[in-house]
Amino acid sequence: MNVRRRIARAEAVDLVRSGRFRLSAAAIFVLLASGAIAGAWRHADGARGTARLAEGERERWLGQGNKTPHGAAHYGVFVARPARVLAAFDEGVAPYAGTVVHLEPHEQRLFRFRPAEDMTWVRRLGALTAAAALQHLVPFLILFLAYGAVAGERERGTLALLLSCGVHPRDVALGKAAGLALPLAGGLLVLAPLGAYAVLAPNGQAGDAGRVALLAAAYLAFLATWTLLCLAVSARSRSSRAALLALLAHWAGWTVAAPPVAMEVAEAASPAPDPLAFRAGIDKDRYGMVTWYERLAAIEKRLLAEHGKERLDDLPVSAQGVGLVEEEADQDRIMSRHFDALLATHERQSRLFEWAGFFSPVIALQSLSASLAGTHLLDQVDFLRASETYRREFVQILNRDTALNDLPQNRTDLGIPGISEKYYQPGRELWEKVPPLRYAGPSTATAVGRHVPAVLALGVWLAGAAAAVLTLRGQA
């Protein structure tokens, strides 16, 4: 143990004194801090906008005055997905998924207003977030520092000297790993304010402290895996050049090549429809539905027979209102068929992608990190489902009210020249019956529990890397 500590201290002191470490580490930690600051700023701006929209929408909904319930339903409601503070650390799929949904009758919708629409094309090459810096840049820094840690000693002839003193190769590698970790850990403290902000922010959510701790554990496991692998490769390579090339190939393969390739495989295994074909499929089903006038004629006939009346005006319910209720239920079934299939496909693709974490620990980390930050695809899908349930309820509250109250005695003039027909136009009393959407999001246990493959993959990688170092023998 003493030997490891000495090697660690020597390595750490060497690193801290080294100009190349100071320069490269400073550059990377500045980028890391910039990513954290930019993320916090984006999150704060987004949270302010979301809160303002939610408040404004409720006021407008209640204050829209007297109008037909179906008109009010088409005026609709914008709902915005509340973001966790940790989204400042890892924005996950949020820039490409959007945050706002407009809810109105007849239509289930995906998110609108993807933040990426309001960014420049250069974003396609990558985004500067704290999570991305930790996933891509810090491993590159570790590689840069570690490729020659053992192989370099061998080339200089100092390794033989060290081993001749009775030091085990495993202790050399572990000591060097600890020596690398100490200055890096110091650098990673730049993220501490962001962690504190996530826990203490006034708009923080329950469980954020636990999520911060789990995120820290996941990233530490990933960085430890990479550090140990670098040292194992360095110890087992013939030269530092060979070690460097092998590590660069792994780094590029894991961080750059593996994610898009894994995603393509996932999409090929579980293909989703093209957006236009998806829309055309919905339209085809809707065009195939009984038309409004055919439905209305059938309902009028049925209601007159059920109530034994001759005239529509004598009915105790509104045929138009009943028609709206039934038509909406039919439309909901069509929407469910298409959207449930689409979202299930996205979920399947996401799970298949996650299994690729056994080939690249970066993929496992990305899945877990986004989930803990509340920006994973499954978080978006959760909110879409919750908002859709809410949409159906709010539209049918209005339709049922129309069915019960759109009666001749309740109708008033529309006030539009050329339209003599009278309409049922309720006011605030009805609008208040529609509650605002309340959404809490998945718990921390759910956030981790539905990413078991990612957790397992990270564990397997860490164990494998540790084994690669602990089994070092004479080859070092």
């Binding site: 302010r48 929209l53 914008f78 490409y96 090459l125 393509e264 339209d283």
Partner: protein, 514 residues
Amino acid sequence: VRRLFVLLRHQWRLQRGTALVALALWTLAALVAVSLGEARARRHAASARQFVAGDEGQIAHYRRRAEAIERVRAGGSAEPVRLHPNELDWGPTQPLYVAAWVPMKVVVPPAPLAALAQGEAELRPLAYRVSLFGPELVPVVEPAANPLAVTVGRFDLALATVWLLPVLVIALCYGLSAADRDAGILPLVLSQPLSPRALLAARLAIPILWVVAAVGVVAVVTAAVVRPEGSSWSGRLAAWLATSLAYGLLWVALGAAVDGRGRPAAWNALVLAGAWLLSTWVLPAAMQTVAAAAHPVPSRAVWAEDLRVFQDAREKGQDALTAQAKEALVNQLRRQEPSLAATRPAADTLGYYYFTRAAHEVAQEPQRRRLDDRMAAPLRRQEALVSALRFLSPSALALGALTDAAGAGRGRYEHFLAEAGRYDARYKAFLWPRTFGNALIASREFDLIPRFAMSEEPFRAAWGRVRAPLAALVSLSVALFTFAFAAGVTARGRPRVLTGERPALRRARGTLRA
């Protein structure tokens, strides 16, 4: 020349293994990327046709109902169509009903070289509906791709070129002379009667020829796999190949320049990998962050809120219009839109009500545009800043040029929106006089309702966006090659730089001082 040939042959023997493996990898990557891209482009084209055909089917459905209404009005029977009595007053012979229910949409056609670059295709709406009143286009088909796939990045030829091509070039270039230096045989090589320029040229010949071959592979794969759309694809493909060639050669030049520093091969590999990371990820990400910080775009939630406030105020404003104000607005719109010159509905008709509504919305358009501009103006400024900053990153330059060459960038999308705007004007010119004049639409007129067909963006417009980054890539390559050759010439008089003796001396002096 003979010595140069011998040297070239020797260099080929040394590097052919790496070069062939790299070329096989590149061919595989290009084949996979182009095949995936072509499959996506075909799917999109087929879906667009299916989508338009579905709408045409619906138009035919309303036309049949309109014919039935006409038969009933003429005293005949609606059969085989079953009509509801209300349909005679509010049905497909009313222009406003047609505007609300008969779908007239504009669909984004696939880019001419969509198979090569995905670009921004998964970020923007794919179809819009034109509106009877305001000039805004209403999105009806939002992107529905898995956001995770878009976040991760599509494996298309543009990204393969920007990411993978440099990696393979680096694998060929990092040890140009450093490998000999590390092995201690560089002084021996230099003792041959060869100029440093000839030596460097021979060393660079294989990577340069490799890049040419890689671009050739792209041309062959594209010709074999892709069925391009539109007429401008050949020019676009030429621009694509030129950009790929310039970008590949730039990395060869960088490899030569780094190698000229006289450091070990491992150091060269690390520096080149660092430059790759800087160019492909760090600088583009930093550019976006700087642009967003310098010209922040307000949150879309705030924009949605402001849009709602504006729309409510517009509606209330219309309700509060006096008769004189309505007449003034109607006259103003009549002057703007020649098709309305003869449309003079009575003030107590529904047509007049909608005439005033349209006129009011058109009059309010500058205010709505100002609202849109609160989002669009900072984004335009961001784009301008990034356009200036992109010259810092060859990868950003290449990606922008490749995306524009393929027609998958914002430039072509704006061309589509402009075309859609012109279509919107034709649609209104058809429907406005009928709606505001309280006229009916005859069933035979359904075929006269304008349909959207985009005329493809001409190649010269795309070339205007591609030529600056291409020129920058070529200039940078020339500068780096010049630097590399200059380092070689200097080395002739000072072989210690190439032999690595100076760093060894420096180390020795450092040790002595210590």
